[in-house]
Symmetry: C2
Subunit: 354 residues, 2 copies
């Protein structure tokens, strides 16, 4: 027993009365080892609690069974951690591990981090941001297989996986339409970001699909999230024809919306239905009534990134045909709680009479 970590393949070979090559073959489940020998070697390895040393293997094979997970700013948004979890779970399942680096939004550090990962011979890099956006990466990134999560590069020269914001916006709007709503307000943010633009686009597409003319009055772009939601309500609900439902670009905006609606004496969802976006548990699950919202596919993005690197990414040694790198959009599932449930009876009634 004791420090079984000084036992080498040589020791195993000696104790088992075989050559090192045979032990190696057993270790890697290679063919051409007689069952008896294999069993014998396994027995000895178990006996002395042998564990092969990763560094030696990496040195010889040039493969490390490791992936780098680099983030620009890890902690800012809680739910973004799901990306790490998705990546970690997927990696572990395939006997890979994740080397984690957080660059604190520092380009120089980012470059150093990538270089350091190269030294460690990681077999791929995942670069993840904490909100959907365009990213800039140093050229060194092209020296190993890389994939982007929740972001993309302008030239689309790197594979990328992001949430399908348009689909999300569409789904949210459609949900409200299905509930019978015909005047649906959209409270957006004034910043131009993929999330904001995509969700609005989805909103418009859904209206179009239902033959409802787009009314610009029902869309407001506010500054801030919670504050913006709050202000948006005052704007939209004082319209001559106020909306009966509000789609908020994110859950924090919905939080402000709840406050303002309460001040106005309007009940959710009886007077106004509300749908958010992001499914930030702490907000969505704790608002009263519970906020119906859309889930960002963080876990799935992390898992996809790893699986892409491990199975689909062209290795640098054999580049394969020069296909453009995939730009994947993952759907945002709806999380039903209580805030959208307006006019349900009417809908049911109408459906039955069809």
């Amino acid at each position: 027993m004791g420090s079984s970590h000084d036992i080498t393949i040589q020791d195993i070979a000696r104790r088992a009365g075989v050559g090192v090559g045979t032990v190696s073959r057993v270790l890697n489940d290679s063919p051409n080892v007689s069952p008896a020998t294999r069993a014998q070697v396994h027995r000895v390895m178990a006996e002395v609690n042998y564990r092969p040393k990763a560094a030696a293997k990496t040195l010889r094979t040039r493969r490390s069974s490791a992936l780098a997970f680099i983030t620009d700013e890890i902690a800012s948004t809680p739910y973004a951690v799901d990306t790490i979890r998705g990546a970690q779970d997927a990696a572990w399942q395939q006997n890979f591990i994740l080397l984690l680096v957080n660059t604190n939004n520092n380009q120089q550090l980012l470059e150093a981090a990538i270089a350091s990962m190269l030294d460690r011979q990681v077999e791929g890099v995942i670069f993840a941001t904490w909100y959907h956006r365009m990213a800039k990466l140093p050229a060194i990134i092209h020296r190993l297989p890389a994939v982007l999560a929740d972001c993309f590069v302008e030239e689309r020269s790197l594979p990328s996986v992001v949430p399908d914001e348009v689909q999300g916006g569409y789904a949210a709007t459609e949900l409200l339409l299905r509930q019978g709503h015909r005047r649906i307000g959209f409270i957006n943010n004034e910043q131009s970001q993929p999330a904001h633009e995509g969700r609005e686009q989805g909103y418009r597409q859904a209206l179009a699909a239902w033959d409802i003319p787009f009314d610009p009055e029902l869309v407001t772009c506010q500054f801030g999230a919670a504050e913006g939601g709050y202000a948006g309500v005052y704007l939209l609900m004082r319209l001559p024809h106020p909306p009966t439902a509000l789609f908020c670009f994110n859950d924090r905006a919905a939080m402000g919306v709840y406050d303002a609606l309460r001040e106005l004496g309007l009940a959710i969802p009886q007077d106004v239905a509300v749908v958010g976006f992001d499914n930030q548990e702490i907000i969505a699950a704790h608002l009263r009534p519970g906020l119906t919202t859309l889930q960002l596919p963080h876990y799935a993005m992390g898992a996809w990134a790893v699986n892409y690197l491990l199975h689909e990414a062209p290795s640098l040694s054999s580049p394969g045909p020069a296909v453009p790198p995939p730009q994947i959009k993952l759907t945002c599932p709806i999380v039903l709680r209580a805030s959208h449930a307006w006019l349900r009876e009417e809908v049911v009634a109408r459906t039955e009479s069809d």
Copy 2:
């Protein structure tokens, strides 16, 4: 240029007209290299963009410049990610990297993970939980330097760093006392956890320090967080002598407290002051008025854990004197917003008249 990663120390030696030993000495800033030679070697290395291979170094030196960061359940609580960030930043500063593993609360997987980290010759392990609690770890953990973050083992046989819950509870209560409050309610959770017990203990100690008799009526242990806070308000505010301030065991409870107080027509902080715990940004910063609360030292715990491993932990090879492993408690700083600010004028007046 090109794939500079096939260049070895031999190549450098040849091109620089020196021996491999000399190159190695330059690489490691070892003494006994003439300045001229050193410069020459540096020049060649820069010229061909040489980078030493980590695996070879690890194999020879048995040191990997890597630490394992193992969590039981990474994503559940957003703010716990700060622990990772703290650890990562501290590690990077010392040219160490973090290998991340998430065991999904699976003991078997945890053991496998530790074994895998041993194979990779990490120089230490940080095991972090996402809330302050007791942890159970497999015996294998003793085979390398380990430290616990946000948790501890029953026998205290491993070094550990956790938030100082008592100090936090004390600080929160004292803040309210300073504001002039004399009847301070404490809304706790019914579960027995270090956080809950410690905060209540701090609450009691602060009262004692101010010579205020402890009134059991003012403490309520509710089920759930937000719901508990909500229920707690109805209980405490209907007392014959209701409290003028409420200390909530966490921010989510405070969220429920806000709801209930609003229903009762009580203004925060004019009628009732509120203090939370945890500083969950999404809640605390977005409640109206902003919630005064206590920050959990997650970042600091992560950083402390890494620095302990790197500088203070007894190496397994030279165990040193058998001192009991440190059990560190880090203070929880107050985050002032608006919800605590009651009676300030009176306090000022009284202070001046002292």
